[in-house]
Amino acid sequence: MNSLFEEKYDELFTEFNYYVLEHPEFAERIPRDALVVLLDKNDPAFNRENLRRVKNYLQHDDNPDRPVLYVQVGRLAPVKSRLRDLRLMTREPGYAI
């Protein structure tokens, strides 16, 4: 469970960070200094484990008044390359020498 949970956690964490940059109207709604908890409506095992870990984290938090924000992840779009403007060359370009 551990490594599957952690891989999914890392993926959601990465995608959430991209999302808040790309959607300022969404990011504006995050309470200042909130603890963000990512949940997947379609993965109850992940949610159970994440909520268990959050409870544990809150016992260590140095801000007892920190707001907790639960973010339900809707869907993950298919991965697309971010490469742009590719060129094919048959010789090394001058800048690479």
């Binding site: 956690y9 990465t14 940059l21 990011a27 995050i30 603890l35 994440n50």
Partner: protein, 109 residues
Amino acid sequence: MTTETQFVVPLRGSPTDRYRHYHVLDQGTVVAFAIQYEAEIDGEWREIVRYDMAHGRPHKDVSHSDGTKTKEEFPHYTNAEVMTLGQHDIRKNWQAYREQYKREMRRRR
């Protein structure tokens, strides 16, 4: 439109390790940011790795247990690129940074 965003996320759900995020967006451009890895060690939350902009230039600080910091600059990167780079570094390497800091603490004892 200018928006400011600030939040924390436990790293891999750890109770003693978190990612702290702050950024300011102005017309879709990151004009300010600070992201850091914080660890609770010996009952105290400490900043271990930080990426932010000082004097308008994005850079990285690694904190050491003796209070010093190692700095790294990114002269050919945009703010958004350094923020993304920093997020990946923290996500992949926070456990190594934590162990390094704890090793330094042990050496000083």
